[in-house]
């Protein structure tokens, strides 16, 4: 019944049963969010620290709201303006926070493996052996709760993930959302196709049981749902593509291309959107788009993750 993992570091270590459990629990929390009083007392005695060493709007607010809806005590920490600037290491920062009796750490960090590193080190310190870690995005590695909320939104729309055709369009190379989505969707029996300029598709990605395309129209024609990723503007100068204008012309999703398709498809986006680059306004705000449903489902999915991780009987990891 409980999850097979003590921490949520990524989708890769989760079993199909774990994913099913999280999505099913999220469905019940989705109902809680419809109630006049959207709060349950489950995490009354739990303190959660949100440690954001990297900028975030949606994920941070979504986690904070999920924690508050579960009645947890919440503290927020952001890298800028903290003792990190004075040279303190991340591990020292976290251990100091845990010494104040914090039960769960939600961490976002620009470096790959930050959450996994924390989880492996925490168990060595007597004050923090029971603390649990939830990864809210680590560099270009994983963003498990985003993949879970994407899967939840797809399941809500299509009823099942089995044999669903999902396209992921954009910068696959630098995207933790893409990687977590690929792990999750293939584990749950969906078919995944990634689409983007060759410079933004990692070599050997076929080994993850995904297909590759460089043609947007063919990709959209093939899929039931397309997850459009943000073009990270900071990458533009790195020479992966000549210009944003050219990217938008070849890989930008717009109303015209959607009208050409033989069947309607669902459009998703993890946010933040660069309107006019990877997706146009008439497409992002159309009835094809479930972008705002994803945001609401994100709160329910994060409530489920917190509930299942915090409720796991106290065992020392490792």
């Amino acid at each position: 019944m409980a999850l097979s993992v003590n921490h949520l570091i990524g989708i890769l270590p989760l079993s199909e049963h774990d994913i099913r459990k999280i999505l099913d629990t999220a469905r019940q929390f989705r109902e809680v969010l419809q109630r006049p009083i959207k709060k349950v007392p489950s995490l009354r005695d739990v303190t959660v620290a949100n440690l954001f060493f990297e900028n975030s709007t949606r994920t941070r607010i979504s986690f904070e709201l999920a924690e508050k809806r579960l009645s947890a005590d919440v503290i927020n920490f952001s890298g800028s303006g903290s003792s990190l600037a004075k040279g303190e290491t991340m591990l020292d920062t976290v251990n100091n926070i845990l010494a104040m009796k914090v039960d769960i750490i939600v961490v976002r960090h620009p470096h790959v493996g930050a959450a996994s590193f924390l989880a492996s080190r925490l168990s060595r310190y007597p004050l923090s052996v029971h603390a649990k870690v939830i990864n809210a995005g680590d560099g270009t590695h994983e963003h498990p709760t985003q993949a879970l909320l994407d899967a939840y939104s797809l399941e809500e729309k299509f009823g099942t993930l089995k044999d669903l055709k999902v396209a992921i369009v954009g910068d696959i190379l630098h995207s933790r959302v893409a990687l977590s989505n690929i792990f999750l969707l293939t584990k749950m029996g969906a078919h995944v196709l990634v689409c983007g300029p060759p410079s933004l598709i990692p070599r050997g990605i076929e080994q993850l049981q995904v297909s590759v395309s460089h043609n947007l129209l063919e990709t959209l024609e093939w899929c039931d749902a397309a997850n459009i990723l943000r073009i990270q503007l900071e990458r533009q100068g790195a020479g992966y593509f000549p210009s944003l204008r050219e990217y938008a012309r070849y890989f930008g999703v717009n109303k015209k291309i959607l009208d050409k398709l033989s069947k309607p498809i669902i459009i998703m986006h993890p946010g933040p959107i660069n309107r006019g680059v990877e997706i146009t306004t008439d497409c992002a705000d159309s009835h094809h788009s479930i972008i705002l449903d994803q945001v609401l489902n994100g709160v329910a999915v994060r409530m489920a993750v917190l509930y299942l991780i915090a409720g796991k009987s106290e065992k020392i990891s490792e």
Binding site: M1, D24, T25, Q28, I37, K38, P41, S42, L308, K312
Partner: protein
């Protein structure tokens, strides 16, 4: 000890009818009441009870919904295993309505306490009554009693009382390690 039938199918029919009559005796306008069954085991009882009630009330039935109380339990993080949440469906307003809570067995009273807590998330009911098919006597851990009781039974704390609906309705008693 083997599983022992303590309430037979025939007796269940009588109990369900009696619970309907007791309810109608107290509520002249049953359609004003909202019935909420506590998940998971209160739901089959609720359905069976409403079915019998429909023979007496015809088209003036109470509204019927079901409520899962998992997130309001007082033993979260205290048990080895997490309880699996079930569906909740309350397709009516609770605010200012008389509510009838339904569950199959009243034992420690903790489920009902969680149910009372959960209902308040939907609004402030005018009143809340409790109906149970089976009440286990002398085993309450909280000051909670039912307004309508099908049958009162005595069982040891090492024993379980389970209401079964398939293939035919009956109530059984068995030792806890014989699940």
């Amino acid at each position: 000890m083997n599983k022992k039938i303590i309430i037979s199918e025939e007796r269940m029919k009588i109990l369900l009818e009696r619970l309907c009559l007791l309810f109608m005796e107290r509520h002249e306008r049953p359609e004003e009441v909202a019935v909420i069954a506590l998940q998971p085991r209160g739901l089959p009882f609720g359905k069976a009870w409403i079915h019998v009630l429909s023979k007496f009330c015809h088209n003036l039935l109470p509204d019927f919904g079901y409520l899962d109380i998992t997130f309001h339990r007082d033993d979260y993080r205290k048990r080895e295993e997490l309880t699996t949440p079930s569906d909740t469906h309350i397709p009516f307003l609770v605010e200012n309505r008389p509510i009838l809570l339904l569950d199959d067995v009243l034992y420690t009273g903790r489920t009902v306490r969680a149910g009372l807590d959960a209902i308040l998330s939907y609004g402030r009911p005018a009143s809340v009554e409790l109906m149970v098919l089976v009440e286990r006597r002398f085993s309450r851990e909280l000051p909670i009693e039912a307004n309508y009781v099908g049958e009162r039974v005595d069982a040891l704390s090492s024993q379980k009382v389970r209401v079964l609906w398939e293939p035919h309705p009956r109530v059984i008693l068995f030792n806890q390690n014989e699940t």
